[in-house]
Symmetry: C2
DNA sequence: AAAGATTTGTCCGTATGTATG
DNA sequence: ACATACATACGGACAAATCTT
């Protein structure tokens, strides 16, 4: 039974819908045994479309780097797994994801300072308009972008946060360098939506992709908030797990 | 000024990209002051497309129930707010959402029994293939579908779960009736994806909509799992919040 | 109350993109 | 590569409903 009939007239081309379905099937491990896609004719049959349409979808995914079609052999799957990020009071971002990939890195995309808006000021327990250190980071697992984060730190307490992060490559180590040895996650709010333009570019998403957005607040052991972050995960590549 | 130029040839129709952008603008509160969309001509100008194209996008969102266009007046925004479901060790579903709407109800869509697959058997700590009570529920806030859940309960212990739910209208009360006075959430895994056919129909989603999927396990106070559920939330209508 | 401006609704035609066989 | 059918996007013109002056 097909999960969902491919439909016309929803503003999404058939080949694009099929590409999305194949991508989803791969990330949920559907072709694990062979490591390759079924033949184009079989896929065309499955989705109830012409083979040409399937070929456009495959070409699109090959361009993304997810597939590699080889004449005579078939269509090989290049990447498969979805990472799982544990979330708990003791959440440490790079620890949680880092051990699920060969290579894991967090880059500072931009840094600066700016005033806290109402939402962030409330979360951090500071006055609206107070200066914050801003840090935008991009994490990559085996070279593939996984998450994009916008962090806010109260500037009064952590004025050198951006530099400390660049020196250490980790928020946890940057906090330690600034004299905060330990901290805990006090809240995480999760939603999902379509990626916007910035996210599409930085996370290398195709248009219409979904992001999981996690807005988190960390606090020191006296329950004083030290960090507000808004992290967008590529929903195709990550799921979030809470042990409570 | 638009964040990013609308692009053609990505397999996504212009009107669809514009509909997605308008939907996102609304849910992030962009037109809160007037409660209406700018005129079609202004939107066309903003997005750099013909007015007809904007009209198709608006018709699409109107069909979703997000907008209502009225001749001579303008285009009214029908709904904007997102419900927030708290998740913690003490999560009680209808309690969490129920107080954010005037009226909240949970319906049993279907019930039955069936064997546990590998994933569910492991989560519930029972043998693969053991019989489970299956229950599919649909929750509505003010008449609008919010979530669709597939629950599994070990049949050995909770053979009358489905009936108990129908009699009480709540999982918590059904457990209580079957002798389980208290239980706790032990894990929740969250991901996001496009809705499939069943979900689209039951949650009244338009094709291409996003669902948040939360796979949760509840256990009694002896840490023995009592329930596995897979809940899909309409991402446009719900966000999940963890206090840790 | 009347006239004009604004805004959505409908019709025409034409060009390009998408999907099939 | 070709031919065919339908969806998408554009442009212009005008009607219908509503608001403003």
């Amino acid at each position: 039974m097909p999960k969902k009939a491919i439909e016309r007239k929803n503003g999404v081309a058939l080949w694009r819908q099929i590409a999305d379905r194949i991508r989803m099937a791969i990330t949920s491990g559907d072709y694990r045994d062979t490591g390759m896609l079924p033949p184009e004719t079989a896929l065309a049959e499955t989705f109830g479309v012409n083979r040409h349409t399937v070929r456009v979808a495959i070409a699109f995914l090959a361009d993304e780097g997810l597939l590699r079609a080889e004449q005579g052999k078939g269509t090989l799957i290049q990447r498969r797994k979805r990472l799982t990020l544990p979330i708990s009071r003791r959440t440490r971002f790079s620890q949680g994801l880092g051990d699920q990939a060969q290579e894991f890195e967090v880059l500072a995309v931009s840094k600066g300072t700016g005033p806290a808006n109402a939402e962030i000021a409330q979360a951090l327990g500071i006055a609206e308009g107070s200066t914050c250190v801003l840090l935008r980071t991009l994490s990559l697992a085996d070279g593939m972008p996984v998450s994009l984060s916008d962090h806010h730190f109260p500037a009064e307490r952590f004025s050198d946060m951006a530099e400390a992060f660049e020196a250490t490559g980790s928020i946890t180590r940057a906090f330690a360098r600034l004299g905060l040895a330990d901290y805990v996650r006090i809240s995480t709010e999760i939603s999902a939506r379509h990626a916007d333009a910035d996210e599409s570019v930085l996370l290398k998403l195709s248009p219409g992709s979904i992001v999981l957005e996690a807005v988190a607040v960390n606090a020191d052991l006296d329950a004083k908030p030290v960090q507000h972050s808004r992290t967008r995960f590529s929903a195709d590549r990550v799921s979030l797990k809470m042990e409570t």
